[in-house]
Amino acid sequence: MPERKRLNPGQKLLLALVLAYLGLILALPLAALAVRALESGPGMLLAIFSDPAALEGLKLTLVLAGIALVGNGLVGVAAALVLVRHRFFGRGLLDTLVDLPLAVSPVMTGLAFLLLFGRGGWFEPWLTLAGIKVSFAFPGMVLATLFVTFPFTLREVAYVLLELGNDEEEAAVTLGASPWQTFLLVTLPNLRFGLGYGLVLTLARALGEFGAVLVIGGAISGQTQTATTFIYNALEERQTPAAYGMALILATASVLFLLSLEWIKRRRDKEK
């Protein structure tokens, strides 16, 4: 533990400003949510768990998050390996493109997918022919969720790979390990903290996604309504308890994510 130093007045002022700022934008909103939830008592949660639409929404969100977790977990690791370990034409462009979902507004993402798969979209004729419905349906929402959560695992894993170098992999190869053995026994265990961190971020982003799934999915109750779009619709229909109840569930999930990120960081630092 570093010794605590006395702060001079200037530093005290700065600290107070930072704390006030954090309180206003981080702590206060979460506190408001918690207070409101406590005021309404257990009835609010009951309102959620007895409402089939709410349960459907929650289930849909979990399924979407699960798909994003598996899909972008696998693709993220593979893409990170390719980006970090290989040199090829267009690598720089790809490296930039990967961050696109961070820069683009989710609403625009939803809109872009509509342009591809929606009425009059590029792929619509073929999809109609094949009898597949993408927009305002589950497949479209999967695509949108995969898109917005794409960079998280990839970036965390790529960062760790870069720091790691390939010495250990080369050592494994000279000891007779096959590419799969090298990956499973050496690369993957070394990636585990970065991968875990990236997966939690992916999960958090998928649970919280609103704009993209709203635009491409249309938030049809019981069909394409997710947890977040449920909150939005409930607020519009002045069903406040249901909205707060769902918000409380999502907020609890967020706190759990925060705690697991912190745990991963600590484990990682301990092994450094």
Binding site: D167, E168, E170, A171, A172, V173, T174, L175, G176, A177, S178, Q181, L185, V186, P189, N190, E271, K272
Partner: protein, 354 residues
């Protein structure tokens, strides 16, 4: 297993790392690749291991071409400069790795791990993680891990570069002793001449991607084949001049150059210990400084009408009698090596070494 390398070339972009290298290592030999950093010695080692692919040329193990063999199929143990231990595995798991991927039974793995822990003086450390070990211990774990699958060839890339001087000394003895016990054909890369000469049976001096000389340590010291070797090995004065009447005059110092055609431009390499200074008022140089370096004394003098010259004597040498800053001295060249300027190949030594 013997190793032969034939006309190896390797470029990295515009940089030629390995430039037509051919060399041979006999079965059971312990060989050092010695050269300055960036000389290509590590690249040659990595090509032999199969970690790098040569642009052209071939590597032979026991006379069989190995170029088509993947690194994992070459049966080569490799020790990396920064250990490259598997950080999430214990020492025992690290050492067992090669056997594990071969599908050896747990019992066999355990036996071999035990054997190597003992051999390396690591007994009792099997359950530690690499981060809990000192640099010297880590390097011994890396060595044990490379030896566990009983490789035919052991390659070590700057194996003692990352540990401090005292541990380095200790590890050198280790490597030499280990080699005398295990007799696996070994090559290690180093930029430290003392390390190369004290450990290796044969030293291959490499500079700018080329082999300058391959010979025993004694031969390299006594018969440097090229100007680079003469300059690089041992401390030496290097002068450039023109032969004239059987000598190369450098100021008032005349370096013997019997048999060299007048007018030939040469580099003259004079090792510190191939020079004798003695006090003489009519001498040809003036002493500027004397420096005590442990058991040796280095003397710096300025040749009349010429450059600085250094020599080195044992501290208790009678030659040092009366030598002090400001005194005048005579210089005797007991051995000079002359290399024509463009060729860099030895043309004359005076007197010829026995």
């Amino acid at each position: 297993m013997s190793i032969r390398v034939d006309h190896l070339y390797k470029r990295f972009g515009d940089f030629v790392a390995v430039d037509d290298v051919s060399l041979e290592v006999e079965s059971g030999e312990l060989v050092a690749f010695l050269g300055p950093s960036g000389s290509g010695k590590s690249s040659i080692l990595r090509i032999i291991a199969g970690l790098e692919r040569a642009d052209s040329g071939s590597v032979f193990f026991a006379g069989q071409a190995a170029d088509h063999l993947h690194a994992r199929a070459r049966g080569v143990g490799f020790v990396f400069q920064h250990y490259a231990l598997f950080r999430h595995m214990t020492v025992a798991q690290n050492i067992a790795f090669g056997l594990r991927v071969q599908g050896k039974s747990r019992a066999d793995q355990g036996l071999r791990v035990h054997e190597l822990l003992d051999l390396m003086g690591l007994a009792g450390l099997g359950e530690r993680y690499p981060r809990q070990l000192s640099g010297g211990q880590r390097q011994r774990v890396a060595l044990a891990r490379a030896l566990a699958p009983q490789p035919q060839v052991l390659l070590l890339d700057e194996p003692f570069g990352a540990v401090d001087a005292r541990v380095r000394e200790e590890l050198r003895h280790w490597l030499r002793r280990l080699h005398d016990e295990v007799h696996v054909t070994s090559i290690f890369v180093t930029h430290d001449q003392e390390e190369a000469f004290s450990v290796a049976d044969k030293v291959i001096v490499i500079n700018r991607g080329r082999v300058e000389q391959a010979a025993s340590p004694a031969d390299i010291l006594d018969h440097p084949a090229t100007e680079f070797v003469a300059r690089f090995i041992g401390d030496a004065n290097v002068y450039e001049g023109k032969a004239l009447g059987g000598v190369v005059p450098i100021g008032r110092l005349e370096i013997p150059a019997a048999g060299v055609t007048d007018g030939t431009e040469v580099s003259a390499v004079l090792r510190f210990y191939d020079l004798k200074f003695w006090k003489e008022d009519q001498g040809i140089a003036r002493v500027v400084r004397t420096m005590t370096l442990g058991d040796r004394v280095k003397v710096e003098a300025v040749i009349d009408d010429g450059p600085v010259i250094y020599s080195q004597f044992p501290r208790r040498s009678s030659l040092l009698a009366g030598i002090e800053p400001g005194c005048r001295i005579h210089i005797e060249v007991t051995l000079a090596r002359l290399y024509p300027k463009d060729a860099g190949i030895l043309v004359s030594t005076t007197p010829p070494p026995a």
